[in-house]
Amino acid sequence: MDIDPRGPRFGALITLVVFAVVLITGSVWLLAAQGLVFAAGSLLGMRRSPYGLLYRWLVRPRLGPPKELEPEAPPRFAQGTGLLISVIGVIGYGTGVTALGMAAAAAGLIAAFLNGVFGLCLGCEMYLLIRRIWPGRQVTDAGRI
């Protein structure tokens, strides 16, 4: 399914602000809430995630139609990596290992910044690197001889 690429960019900018507030306040609850947003984006799809709904209701009507659409799968995959980072951060802040929490929140902030400001989807870039190291169930080149 193809979506308006400005939706995920808008969501990344909100995510950026949330991670910054998490770092400054050290709020484990806010980070957990962001984790739920990531879970919604990953499981329900970008357009039904809270930030996606905000975009559709508040931002999209003020903008023109998108110049081109993009596939939904890449940002949706990246939401999953964001969820992983949030879980690690919640574990860090929640168990008192604040350095772990901060490291996770900083990683999330950098990824959200690159996505929102530059349009670089770091979570998507991880995909091929993960596949190179861990091919999973996919038949590899060598296996197909």
Partner: protein, 182 residues
Amino acid sequence: MTAGLIVCVAALVVATAAGLTWRQRNGRMRPVAAGQATAGGTGARQVTAGRAVTGTRRSRRTTGAEPAGRSTGAGLSTGAGPDLTVAELGGPLGSRATLLQFSSAFCAPCGATRRVLAEVAGMTDGVAHLEIDAESHLELVRRLDVRRTPTVFVLGPDGRIAHRASGQPRKADVIAALGEVT
């Protein structure tokens, strides 16, 4: 609180620097010297013979039609033969040049890259556009050290890699790279 603020500012600085660097390098066509194209030299050649390649956009040619120079055998100097065989490419080389694109499932710019390369191939005689699914060709991905999708290779008529770009290349850069190959 103070530590968190410092980390926050540091992360923003790192992200800005990384983003500017990325924008500078993304999609830039880099020339590749002969023999430097592959990560593991000719060692991976044994996997090529008679193997069916899927996931490409063009029908493949019989293995008998491989370019001359292929039969120099593994273990000889890396500059002797093509970096990629027809069996690996899954389609015939263009008579002048081939635009080879590696794509993956979670890749937003792959579609736009496909359109650019198809357009260039369509308006230039003897230039083929081939697309390979990186995930189902991990052996090749490792050998050519493909780390991102899209990664685009410009191959000469002999199947040797002349240029490569990570990320979506600009149309003008693709045309310029083609001009240097032929």
